[in-house]
Symmetry: C2
Subunit: 255 residues, 2 copies
DNA sequence: CGCCCACTTGATTAATATCAAATACTGTGG
DNA sequence: CCACAGTATTTGATATTAATCAAGTGGGCG
Protein backbone atom coordinates (compact mmCIF):
# COMPACT_ATOMS: atom_id res chain seq x y z
CA UNK A 1 0.00 0.00 0.00
CA UNK A 2 2.68 2.47 0.87
CA UNK A 3 4.28 1.64 -2.42
CA UNK A 4 1.27 2.89 -4.28
CA UNK A 5 0.69 6.13 -2.54
CA UNK A 6 3.94 7.04 -0.89
CA UNK A 7 1.91 7.37 2.32
CA UNK A 8 2.73 5.43 5.43
CA UNK A 9 0.57 2.39 6.08
CA UNK A 10 -1.91 2.56 8.94
CA UNK A 11 0.16 0.05 10.91
CA UNK A 12 3.23 2.23 10.70
CA UNK A 13 1.20 5.32 11.58
CA UNK A 14 -0.20 3.50 14.55
CA UNK A 15 3.08 2.14 15.87
CA UNK A 16 4.65 5.56 15.47
CA UNK A 17 2.52 6.66 18.39
CA UNK A 18 4.72 4.53 20.54
CA UNK A 19 8.15 4.55 18.96
CA UNK A 20 10.15 5.99 16.10
CA UNK A 21 11.68 3.66 13.56
CA UNK A 22 14.72 3.80 11.35
CA UNK A 23 14.63 3.08 7.64
CA UNK A 24 15.11 -0.69 8.00
CA UNK A 25 12.45 -0.99 10.65
CA UNK A 26 10.08 1.16 8.63
CA UNK A 27 10.63 -1.01 5.58
CA UNK A 28 10.05 -4.16 7.63
CA UNK A 29 6.78 -2.83 9.01
CA UNK A 30 5.62 -1.72 5.59
CA UNK A 31 6.48 -5.10 4.13
CA UNK A 32 4.31 -6.95 6.62
CA UNK A 33 1.03 -6.20 4.95
CA UNK A 34 1.27 -8.36 1.90
CA UNK A 35 -1.93 -8.60 -0.11
CA UNK A 36 -5.13 -7.05 1.11
CA UNK A 37 -8.20 -9.26 1.17
CA UNK A 38 -11.43 -7.34 0.63
CA UNK A 39 -14.46 -7.95 2.83
CA UNK A 40 -17.98 -6.72 2.43
CA UNK A 41 -19.92 -5.10 5.28
CA UNK A 42 -20.84 -7.72 7.91
CA UNK A 43 -18.82 -10.42 6.27
CA UNK A 44 -17.34 -12.80 8.82
CA UNK A 45 -13.55 -12.90 8.93
CA UNK A 46 -13.07 -15.68 11.49
CA UNK A 47 -15.72 -17.48 13.45
CA UNK A 48 -15.79 -18.75 17.01
CA UNK A 49 -14.54 -22.31 17.16
CA UNK A 50 -12.35 -22.01 14.09
CA UNK A 51 -8.65 -22.49 14.18
CA UNK A 52 -6.98 -19.22 13.24
CA UNK A 53 -5.24 -19.19 9.87
CA UNK A 54 -3.01 -16.20 10.33
CA UNK A 55 -2.73 -12.87 12.02
CA UNK A 56 -5.14 -10.34 10.57
CA UNK A 57 -4.16 -6.75 10.02
CA UNK A 58 -6.85 -4.26 9.16
CA UNK A 59 -5.77 -1.97 6.33
CA UNK A 60 -8.96 -0.04 5.73
CA UNK A 61 -12.50 0.02 7.03
CA UNK A 62 -13.81 -1.17 10.36
CA UNK A 63 -14.05 -4.64 11.84
CA UNK A 64 -15.16 -5.92 15.20
CA UNK A 65 -14.91 -8.81 17.60
CA UNK A 66 -18.19 -10.17 18.83
CA UNK A 67 -19.72 -12.99 20.73
CA UNK A 68 -23.23 -14.36 20.70
CA UNK A 69 -25.23 -16.11 23.37
CA UNK A 70 -27.03 -19.35 22.50
CA UNK A 71 -30.35 -17.47 22.53
CA UNK A 72 -29.20 -14.97 19.94
CA UNK A 73 -28.22 -11.98 22.06
CA UNK A 74 -25.10 -10.50 20.54
CA UNK A 75 -22.36 -8.35 21.99
CA UNK A 76 -19.62 -6.55 20.16
CA UNK A 77 -16.45 -6.79 22.23
CA UNK A 78 -14.38 -4.17 20.50
CA UNK A 79 -13.70 -2.45 17.22
CA UNK A 80 -10.74 -2.70 14.90
CA UNK A 81 -9.70 0.38 13.00
CA UNK A 82 -7.07 0.53 10.24
CA UNK A 83 -3.65 -0.38 11.59
CA UNK A 84 -5.06 -2.76 14.19
CA UNK A 85 -3.78 -6.30 14.43
CA UNK A 86 -6.21 -8.98 15.54
CA UNK A 87 -4.49 -11.31 17.98
CA UNK A 88 -0.79 -11.31 17.54
CA UNK A 89 -0.27 -14.53 19.41
CA UNK A 90 -3.43 -16.27 18.47
CA UNK A 91 -1.64 -19.47 17.56
CA UNK A 92 -1.00 -20.29 21.18
CA UNK A 93 -4.69 -21.12 21.53
CA UNK A 94 -6.31 -23.91 19.62
CA UNK A 95 -9.52 -22.24 18.64
CA UNK A 96 -11.18 -18.86 18.59
CA UNK A 97 -13.49 -18.17 21.51
CA UNK A 98 -15.20 -15.36 19.61
CA UNK A 99 -15.73 -14.17 16.07
CA UNK A 100 -14.35 -11.33 14.02
CA UNK A 101 -16.30 -9.67 11.22
CA UNK A 102 -16.09 -6.68 8.97
CA UNK A 103 -18.36 -3.87 10.05
CA UNK A 104 -18.03 -1.82 6.90
CA UNK A 105 -16.33 -2.69 3.66
CA UNK A 106 -12.78 -3.43 4.74
CA UNK A 107 -9.42 -4.62 3.56
CA UNK A 108 -7.55 -7.08 5.73
CA UNK A 109 -4.08 -8.54 5.27
CA UNK A 110 -3.25 -11.97 6.64
CA UNK A 111 0.24 -12.08 8.09
CA UNK A 112 1.80 -15.54 8.25
CA UNK A 113 3.07 -16.37 11.72
CA UNK A 114 6.49 -17.06 10.33
CA UNK A 115 6.79 -13.60 8.86
CA UNK A 116 5.96 -11.99 12.18
CA UNK A 117 8.44 -14.24 13.89
CA UNK A 118 11.20 -13.16 11.55
CA UNK A 119 10.48 -9.48 11.81
CA UNK A 120 10.27 -9.56 15.60
CA UNK A 121 13.40 -11.66 15.84
CA UNK A 122 15.31 -9.11 13.85
CA UNK A 123 13.83 -5.88 15.21
CA UNK A 124 13.33 -5.74 18.96
CA UNK A 125 11.92 -2.26 18.72
CA UNK A 126 9.16 -3.52 16.47
CA UNK A 127 8.50 -6.34 18.91
CA UNK A 128 8.05 -3.90 21.74
CA UNK A 129 5.80 -1.73 19.62
CA UNK A 130 3.62 -4.71 18.75
CA UNK A 131 3.33 -5.54 22.43
CA UNK A 132 2.39 -1.99 23.14
CA UNK A 133 -0.41 -2.31 20.61
CA UNK A 134 -1.60 -5.50 22.26
CA UNK A 135 -1.52 -3.96 25.71
CA UNK A 136 -3.48 -0.96 24.53
CA UNK A 137 -6.11 -3.28 23.16
CA UNK A 138 -6.35 -4.99 26.53
CA UNK A 139 -6.66 -1.63 28.23
CA UNK A 140 -9.51 -0.76 25.90
CA UNK A 141 -11.25 -4.02 26.81
CA UNK A 142 -10.99 -3.12 30.46
CA UNK A 143 -12.41 0.30 29.77
CA UNK A 144 -15.33 -1.38 28.04
CA UNK A 145 -16.04 -3.36 31.18
CA UNK A 146 -16.13 -0.15 33.17
CA UNK A 147 -18.28 1.32 30.45
CA UNK A 148 -20.86 -1.41 30.51
CA UNK A 149 -20.84 -1.78 34.25
CA UNK A 150 -20.87 1.75 35.51
CA UNK A 151 -21.65 4.25 32.80
CA UNK A 152 -25.19 5.23 31.80
CA UNK A 153 -26.39 4.75 28.26
CA UNK A 154 -25.52 8.32 27.34
CA UNK A 155 -22.09 8.30 28.94
CA UNK A 156 -21.33 4.94 27.43
CA UNK A 157 -22.28 6.02 23.94
CA UNK A 158 -20.30 9.23 24.29
CA UNK A 159 -17.33 7.27 25.57
CA UNK A 160 -17.35 4.97 22.56
CA UNK A 161 -17.25 7.92 20.20
CA UNK A 162 -14.36 9.45 22.12
CA UNK A 163 -12.46 6.19 21.94
CA UNK A 164 -12.96 5.71 18.22
CA UNK A 165 -12.12 9.32 17.54
CA UNK A 166 -8.81 9.14 19.36
CA UNK A 167 -7.90 5.83 17.81
CA UNK A 168 -8.66 7.09 14.33
CA UNK A 169 -6.75 10.25 15.00
CA UNK A 170 -3.72 8.17 15.91
CA UNK A 171 -3.75 6.73 12.40
CA UNK A 172 -4.60 10.05 10.80
CA UNK A 173 -8.12 9.06 9.84
CA UNK A 174 -9.91 11.61 11.98
CA UNK A 175 -9.44 15.23 12.77
CA UNK A 176 -11.37 18.35 13.65
CA UNK A 177 -13.93 16.37 15.61
CA UNK A 178 -15.24 14.35 12.71
CA UNK A 179 -14.69 10.91 11.29
CA UNK A 180 -16.30 8.33 9.05
CA UNK A 181 -17.98 5.57 11.01
CA UNK A 182 -20.83 4.07 9.04
CA UNK A 183 -22.57 1.79 11.54
CA UNK A 184 -26.24 1.13 12.00
CA UNK A 185 -27.93 1.82 15.29
CA UNK A 186 -28.42 -1.91 15.68
CA UNK A 187 -24.67 -2.36 15.59
CA UNK A 188 -24.16 0.41 18.09
CA UNK A 189 -26.71 -1.31 20.28
CA UNK A 190 -24.74 -4.55 20.13
CA UNK A 191 -21.58 -2.69 21.03
CA UNK A 192 -23.12 -0.74 23.88
CA UNK A 193 -25.26 -3.50 25.38
CA UNK A 194 -28.45 -1.56 24.73
CA UNK A 195 -31.59 -2.04 22.66
CA UNK A 196 -31.85 -0.34 19.27
CA UNK A 197 -34.67 1.85 20.42
CA UNK A 198 -32.70 3.04 23.38
CA UNK A 199 -29.67 3.77 21.24
CA UNK A 200 -31.86 5.86 19.02
CA UNK A 201 -33.11 7.90 21.96
CA UNK A 202 -29.65 8.18 23.44
CA UNK A 203 -28.29 9.55 20.17
CA UNK A 204 -31.10 12.08 20.10
CA UNK A 205 -30.15 13.12 23.62
CA UNK A 206 -26.52 13.58 22.65
CA UNK A 207 -27.54 15.50 19.56
CA UNK A 208 -29.82 17.80 21.55
CA UNK A 209 -26.98 18.50 23.92
CA UNK A 210 -24.71 19.38 21.03
CA UNK A 211 -22.29 16.58 21.83
CA UNK A 212 -22.65 14.19 18.91
CA UNK A 213 -24.08 14.47 15.47
CA UNK A 214 -24.29 11.73 12.88
CA UNK A 215 -25.00 12.26 9.26
CA UNK A 216 -24.57 9.82 6.46
CA UNK A 217 -22.03 7.62 8.21
CA UNK A 218 -20.01 10.56 9.46
CA UNK A 219 -19.79 11.21 13.17
CA UNK A 220 -19.37 14.83 14.19
CA UNK A 221 -18.24 15.79 17.65
CA UNK A 222 -18.82 19.53 17.73
CA UNK A 223 -17.42 19.99 21.21
CA UNK A 224 -14.90 17.31 21.96
CA UNK A 225 -13.94 18.67 25.33
CA UNK A 226 -17.52 18.75 26.55
CA UNK A 227 -18.07 15.26 25.20
CA UNK A 228 -15.03 13.85 26.96
CA UNK A 229 -16.13 15.55 30.10
CA UNK A 230 -19.61 14.13 29.88
CA UNK A 231 -18.31 10.64 29.11
CA UNK A 232 -15.63 10.88 31.79
CA UNK A 233 -13.26 9.86 29.05
CA UNK A 234 -9.64 9.59 30.10
CA UNK A 235 -7.33 9.13 27.12
CA UNK A 236 -4.68 7.68 29.38
CA UNK A 237 -5.88 4.16 28.74
CA UNK A 238 -4.97 4.50 25.08
CA UNK A 239 -1.32 5.09 26.05
CA UNK A 240 -0.89 7.28 23.00
CA UNK A 241 1.81 9.70 24.08
CA UNK A 242 3.97 10.38 21.08
CA UNK A 243 7.62 9.92 21.87
CA UNK A 244 10.62 7.73 21.21
CA UNK A 245 11.48 5.33 23.98
CA UNK A 246 14.22 2.84 24.69
CA UNK A 247 13.20 -0.76 24.21
CA UNK A 248 15.32 -2.17 26.99
CA UNK A 249 12.44 -2.51 29.40
CA UNK A 250 10.68 -5.27 27.57
CA UNK A 251 10.75 -8.63 29.26
CA UNK A 252 9.89 -11.83 27.43
CA UNK A 253 12.04 -11.21 24.40
CA UNK A 254 13.35 -14.72 24.28
CA UNK A 255 15.09 -16.96 21.84
CA UNK B 1 6.36 -22.40 49.10
CA UNK B 2 6.67 -25.71 47.37
CA UNK B 3 9.75 -26.25 49.47
CA UNK B 4 7.71 -26.10 52.61
CA UNK B 5 4.90 -28.39 51.69
CA UNK B 6 6.18 -30.54 48.90
CA UNK B 7 3.09 -29.44 47.00
CA UNK B 8 3.24 -27.78 43.64
CA UNK B 9 2.87 -24.02 43.64
CA UNK B 10 -0.33 -22.55 42.26
CA UNK B 11 1.53 -21.18 39.26
CA UNK B 12 2.81 -24.60 38.34
CA UNK B 13 -0.62 -26.12 38.89
CA UNK B 14 -2.11 -23.47 36.66
CA UNK B 15 0.38 -23.77 33.82
CA UNK B 16 0.01 -27.54 33.93
CA UNK B 17 -3.43 -27.06 32.47
CA UNK B 18 -1.73 -26.03 29.29
CA UNK B 19 1.51 -27.94 29.11
CA UNK B 20 3.58 -30.56 30.90
CA UNK B 21 7.02 -29.65 32.15
CA UNK B 22 10.20 -31.59 32.70
CA UNK B 23 12.20 -31.40 35.93
CA UNK B 24 14.26 -28.36 34.90
CA UNK B 25 11.23 -26.43 33.76
CA UNK B 26 9.34 -27.36 36.89
CA UNK B 27 12.20 -26.17 39.04
CA UNK B 28 12.40 -22.91 37.10
CA UNK B 29 8.71 -22.25 37.55
CA UNK B 30 8.85 -23.08 41.23
CA UNK B 31 11.84 -20.80 41.69
CA UNK B 32 10.01 -17.81 40.24
CA UNK B 33 7.96 -17.02 43.31
CA UNK B 34 10.63 -15.69 45.59
CA UNK B 35 9.33 -14.11 48.77
CA UNK B 36 5.63 -13.72 49.36
CA UNK B 37 4.42 -10.28 50.43
CA UNK B 38 1.32 -10.39 52.62
CA UNK B 39 -1.62 -8.08 51.99
CA UNK B 40 -4.64 -7.45 54.12
CA UNK B 41 -8.17 -7.48 52.69
CA UNK B 42 -8.73 -4.44 50.45
CA UNK B 43 -5.16 -3.34 50.61
CA UNK B 44 -4.05 -1.71 47.39
CA UNK B 45 -1.26 -3.50 45.56
CA UNK B 46 -0.70 -1.01 42.71
CA UNK B 47 -2.67 2.08 41.96
CA UNK B 48 -3.71 3.68 38.70
CA UNK B 49 -1.08 6.14 37.53
CA UNK B 50 1.80 4.40 39.29
CA UNK B 51 4.73 3.00 37.43
CA UNK B 52 4.76 -0.77 37.93
CA UNK B 53 7.59 -2.10 40.09
CA UNK B 54 7.54 -5.72 39.07
CA UNK B 55 5.31 -8.50 37.90
CA UNK B 56 2.94 -9.66 40.62
CA UNK B 57 2.14 -13.31 41.11
CA UNK B 58 -0.71 -14.21 43.43
CA UNK B 59 0.25 -17.09 45.73
CA UNK B 60 -2.79 -17.23 47.98
CA UNK B 61 -6.03 -15.36 48.44
CA UNK B 62 -7.92 -13.25 45.94
CA UNK B 63 -7.04 -9.96 44.30
CA UNK B 64 -8.76 -7.86 41.68
CA UNK B 65 -8.24 -5.20 39.08
CA UNK B 66 -10.56 -2.26 39.31
CA UNK B 67 -11.15 1.18 37.96
CA UNK B 68 -13.07 4.08 39.39
CA UNK B 69 -14.91 6.93 37.75
CA UNK B 70 -14.24 10.49 38.93
CA UNK B 71 -17.62 10.53 40.66
CA UNK B 72 -16.84 7.46 42.74
CA UNK B 73 -18.55 4.70 40.82
CA UNK B 74 -16.28 1.69 40.91
CA UNK B 75 -15.98 -1.32 38.65
CA UNK B 76 -14.01 -4.48 39.27
CA UNK B 77 -12.49 -5.58 35.96
CA UNK B 78 -11.46 -9.08 36.89
CA UNK B 79 -10.33 -11.31 39.68
CA UNK B 80 -6.97 -12.87 40.34
CA UNK B 81 -6.86 -16.28 41.96
CA UNK B 82 -3.72 -18.08 43.21
CA UNK B 83 -1.37 -18.82 40.35
CA UNK B 84 -2.41 -15.74 38.40
CA UNK B 85 0.17 -13.31 37.12
CA UNK B 86 -0.81 -9.66 36.90
CA UNK B 87 0.50 -8.20 33.67
CA UNK B 88 3.46 -10.10 32.36
CA UNK B 89 4.56 -7.33 30.05
CA UNK B 90 3.53 -4.41 32.11
CA UNK B 91 6.86 -2.67 31.67
CA UNK B 92 6.08 -1.83 28.09
CA UNK B 93 3.61 0.77 29.35
CA UNK B 94 4.67 3.75 31.40
CA UNK B 95 1.92 3.77 33.95
CA UNK B 96 -0.96 1.69 35.21
CA UNK B 97 -4.34 2.61 33.74
CA UNK B 98 -6.14 0.82 36.57
CA UNK B 99 -5.50 -0.39 40.09
CA UNK B 100 -4.94 -3.78 41.64
CA UNK B 101 -5.93 -4.59 45.21
CA UNK B 102 -6.23 -7.57 47.49
CA UNK B 103 -9.81 -8.70 47.93
CA UNK B 104 -9.14 -11.04 50.83
CA UNK B 105 -5.97 -11.55 52.80
CA UNK B 106 -3.48 -12.54 50.14
CA UNK B 107 0.14 -13.33 49.47
CA UNK B 108 1.75 -11.88 46.39
CA UNK B 109 5.24 -12.42 45.04
CA UNK B 110 6.94 -9.72 43.01
CA UNK B 111 8.90 -11.16 40.12
CA UNK B 112 11.70 -8.96 38.82
CA UNK B 113 11.45 -8.43 35.08
CA UNK B 114 14.96 -9.72 34.64
CA UNK B 115 14.14 -13.03 36.26
CA UNK B 116 11.21 -13.57 33.94
CA UNK B 117 13.36 -12.64 31.00
CA UNK B 118 15.94 -15.23 31.94
CA UNK B 119 13.47 -18.02 32.53
CA UNK B 120 11.62 -17.37 29.29
CA UNK B 121 14.88 -17.07 27.36
CA UNK B 122 15.92 -20.49 28.58
CA UNK B 123 12.60 -22.34 28.48
CA UNK B 124 10.45 -21.71 25.41
CA UNK B 125 7.80 -24.03 26.73
CA UNK B 126 7.40 -21.87 29.80
CA UNK B 127 7.21 -18.79 27.59
CA UNK B 128 4.38 -20.30 25.61
CA UNK B 129 2.60 -21.32 28.79
CA UNK B 130 2.86 -17.78 30.15
CA UNK B 131 1.38 -16.46 26.95
CA UNK B 132 -1.39 -18.94 27.20
CA UNK B 133 -2.14 -17.60 30.67
CA UNK B 134 -2.19 -14.06 29.35
CA UNK B 135 -4.45 -14.96 26.46
CA UNK B 136 -6.86 -16.71 28.79
CA UNK B 137 -7.04 -13.60 30.89
CA UNK B 138 -7.89 -11.58 27.82
CA UNK B 139 -10.55 -14.09 26.89
CA UNK B 140 -12.03 -13.72 30.36
CA UNK B 141 -12.12 -9.94 29.92
CA UNK B 142 -14.03 -10.36 26.71
CA UNK B 143 -16.47 -12.69 28.40
CA UNK B 144 -17.01 -10.03 31.04
CA UNK B 145 -17.99 -7.56 28.35
CA UNK B 146 -20.56 -10.02 27.06
CA UNK B 147 -21.63 -10.57 30.64
CA UNK B 148 -22.20 -6.94 31.40
CA UNK B 149 -23.72 -6.15 28.06
CA UNK B 150 -26.06 -8.99 27.40
CA UNK B 151 -26.64 -11.12 30.48
CA UNK B 152 -29.28 -10.33 33.08
CA UNK B 153 -28.30 -9.76 36.70
CA UNK B 154 -29.02 -13.39 37.58
CA UNK B 155 -27.22 -14.86 34.62
CA UNK B 156 -24.30 -12.55 35.16
CA UNK B 157 -23.93 -13.46 38.79
CA UNK B 158 -24.23 -17.14 38.00
CA UNK B 159 -21.66 -16.78 35.27
CA UNK B 160 -19.16 -15.19 37.62
CA UNK B 161 -19.47 -18.06 40.05
CA UNK B 162 -18.97 -20.56 37.23
CA UNK B 163 -15.86 -18.73 36.10
CA UNK B 164 -14.30 -18.55 39.54
CA UNK B 165 -15.15 -22.17 40.23
CA UNK B 166 -13.46 -23.42 37.08
CA UNK B 167 -10.44 -21.21 37.60
CA UNK B 168 -10.02 -22.37 41.17
CA UNK B 169 -10.50 -25.96 40.13
CA UNK B 170 -7.64 -25.55 37.67
CA UNK B 171 -5.35 -24.77 40.59
CA UNK B 172 -6.91 -27.41 42.83
CA UNK B 173 -8.57 -24.92 45.14
CA UNK B 174 -12.13 -25.94 44.41
CA UNK B 175 -13.94 -29.20 43.99
CA UNK B 176 -17.31 -30.80 44.50
CA UNK B 177 -19.10 -27.57 43.66
CA UNK B 178 -17.74 -25.56 46.56
CA UNK B 179 -14.98 -23.07 47.10
CA UNK B 180 -13.86 -20.34 49.46
CA UNK B 181 -14.65 -16.88 48.13
CA UNK B 182 -15.10 -14.42 50.97
CA UNK B 183 -16.39 -11.30 49.25
CA UNK B 184 -19.00 -8.85 50.42
CA UNK B 185 -22.09 -8.16 48.39
CA UNK B 186 -20.77 -4.67 47.80
CA UNK B 187 -17.73 -6.16 46.11
CA UNK B 188 -19.88 -8.47 44.04
CA UNK B 189 -21.90 -5.44 43.05
CA UNK B 190 -18.76 -3.66 41.87
CA UNK B 191 -17.76 -6.72 39.89
CA UNK B 192 -21.17 -7.24 38.34
CA UNK B 193 -22.06 -3.64 37.63
CA UNK B 194 -25.10 -3.79 39.91
CA UNK B 195 -26.24 -2.08 43.08
CA UNK B 196 -25.71 -3.84 46.41
CA UNK B 197 -29.40 -4.19 46.99
CA UNK B 198 -29.91 -5.81 43.66
CA UNK B 199 -27.04 -8.21 44.23
CA UNK B 200 -28.68 -9.22 47.47
CA UNK B 201 -31.95 -9.94 45.72
CA UNK B 202 -30.23 -11.72 42.88
CA UNK B 203 -28.41 -14.00 45.30
CA UNK B 204 -31.70 -14.79 46.97
CA UNK B 205 -33.13 -15.69 43.59
CA UNK B 206 -30.24 -18.01 42.84
CA UNK B 207 -30.53 -19.57 46.29
CA UNK B 208 -34.27 -20.14 45.87
CA UNK B 209 -33.59 -21.85 42.57
CA UNK B 210 -31.03 -24.11 44.20
CA UNK B 211 -28.23 -22.79 42.03
CA UNK B 212 -25.98 -20.94 44.45
CA UNK B 213 -25.59 -20.94 48.19
CA UNK B 214 -23.20 -18.79 50.17
CA UNK B 215 -22.35 -19.35 53.75
CA UNK B 216 -19.53 -17.84 55.67
CA UNK B 217 -17.36 -16.99 52.73
CA UNK B 218 -17.89 -20.35 51.09
CA UNK B 219 -19.74 -20.54 47.82
CA UNK B 220 -21.70 -23.71 47.20
CA UNK B 221 -22.93 -24.66 43.77
CA UNK B 222 -25.26 -27.58 44.45
CA UNK B 223 -26.03 -28.21 40.81
CA UNK B 224 -23.17 -27.05 38.64
CA UNK B 225 -24.67 -28.29 35.42
CA UNK B 226 -27.93 -26.42 35.99
CA UNK B 227 -25.98 -23.32 36.97
CA UNK B 228 -23.85 -23.38 33.85
CA UNK B 229 -26.95 -23.90 31.82
CA UNK B 230 -28.69 -20.98 33.42
CA UNK B 231 -25.65 -18.73 33.03
CA UNK B 232 -25.03 -19.90 29.48
CA UNK B 233 -21.52 -20.57 30.67
CA UNK B 234 -19.20 -21.99 28.06
CA UNK B 235 -15.90 -23.13 29.58
CA UNK B 236 -14.25 -22.92 26.20
CA UNK B 237 -13.11 -19.37 26.83
CA UNK B 238 -10.93 -20.60 29.69
CA UNK B 239 -8.97 -22.78 27.26
CA UNK B 240 -8.35 -25.28 30.03
CA UNK B 241 -8.03 -28.55 28.18
CA UNK B 242 -5.44 -30.60 29.95
CA UNK B 243 -2.88 -31.91 27.53
CA UNK B 244 0.71 -31.66 26.47
CA UNK B 245 1.26 -29.65 23.34
CA UNK B 246 4.20 -28.76 21.16
CA UNK B 247 5.47 -25.25 21.60
CA UNK B 248 6.45 -24.76 17.99
CA UNK B 249 3.44 -22.65 17.14
CA UNK B 250 4.42 -19.64 19.17
CA UNK B 251 5.31 -16.55 17.21
CA UNK B 252 7.09 -13.61 18.77
CA UNK B 253 9.75 -15.58 20.58
CA UNK B 254 12.49 -13.22 19.69
CA UNK B 255 15.99 -12.45 20.80
C1' DC C 1 -43.66 2.90 -8.09
C1' DG C 2 -43.03 0.02 -4.45
C1' DC C 3 -40.15 -2.48 -1.36
C1' DC C 4 -36.77 -2.95 2.02
C1' DC C 5 -34.31 -1.31 5.53
C1' DA C 6 -33.06 1.86 8.86
C1' DC C 7 -34.70 5.15 11.76
C1' DT C 8 -38.21 7.30 14.72
C1' DT C 9 -42.12 7.74 17.95
C1' DG C 10 -45.39 6.47 21.51
C1' DA C 11 -47.17 3.47 25.01
C1' DT C 12 -46.33 0.04 28.21
C1' DT C 13 -43.68 -3.14 30.92
C1' DA C 14 -39.65 -5.06 33.10
C1' DA C 15 -35.24 -4.55 35.23
C1' DT C 16 -32.59 -2.25 38.19
C1' DA C 17 -31.37 1.80 41.19
C1' DT C 18 -32.21 4.58 45.07
C1' DC C 19 -33.80 5.70 49.56
C1' DA C 20 -34.77 4.42 54.09
C1' DA C 21 -35.10 1.46 57.76
C1' DA C 22 -34.61 -2.88 60.21
C1' DT C 23 -32.09 -6.87 61.27
C1' DA C 24 -28.11 -9.81 61.75
C1' DC C 25 -23.23 -10.53 62.45
C1' DT C 26 -18.30 -9.55 64.11
C1' DG C 27 -15.11 -8.22 66.90
C1' DT C 28 -13.72 -5.44 71.04
C1' DG C 29 -13.42 -3.65 75.61
C1' DG C 30 -15.15 -4.22 80.14
C1' DC D 1 -20.25 -13.25 79.19
C1' DC D 2 -22.32 -8.89 77.96
C1' DA D 3 -22.77 -4.33 75.84
C1' DC D 4 -21.59 -1.87 72.10
C1' DA D 5 -19.98 -0.11 67.72
C1' DG D 6 -19.40 -0.93 63.25
C1' DT D 7 -20.22 -3.39 59.23
C1' DA D 8 -22.94 -6.45 56.27
C1' DT D 9 -27.22 -8.18 54.99
C1' DT D 10 -32.08 -7.97 54.36
C1' DT D 11 -36.61 -5.85 53.46
C1' DG D 12 -39.98 -2.56 51.70
C1' DA D 13 -41.38 1.36 48.98
C1' DT D 14 -40.59 4.20 45.22
C1' DA D 15 -38.11 6.22 41.23
C1' DT D 16 -35.38 5.71 37.16
C1' DT D 17 -33.53 3.49 33.36
C1' DA D 18 -33.89 0.73 29.74
C1' DA D 19 -36.48 -3.09 27.18
C1' DT D 20 -40.31 -4.44 24.62
C1' DC D 21 -44.17 -4.01 21.64
C1' DA D 22 -46.31 -1.80 18.01
C1' DA D 23 -46.88 1.36 14.65
C1' DG D 24 -45.28 4.86 11.84
C1' DT D 25 -41.84 7.58 8.72
C1' DG D 26 -38.32 8.15 5.40
C1' DG D 27 -34.81 7.32 2.10
C1' DG D 28 -32.40 4.58 -1.43
C1' DC D 29 -32.85 1.77 -5.19
C1' DG D 30 -34.31 -2.05 -8.51
Amino acid sequence: MSLLSGKRSPLLRKLSNFSTFDADETAAIEALASEPVPYRPREIIIEEGERPQGVNLVLSGFACRYKALPDGRRQILGYFVPGDICDLRVFVLEEMDHSIAAVTAAEVAVLPAEEIRQVTARFPRITTALWWATLVEEAISREWILNMGRRSAGERTAHLFCEIYHRLKAVELADGGRFTFPVTQQELADALGLSVVHVNRTLQLLRRRGLVDMENGTVILPNLEALEDYAMFNPRHLHLRERARPDASAPLETT
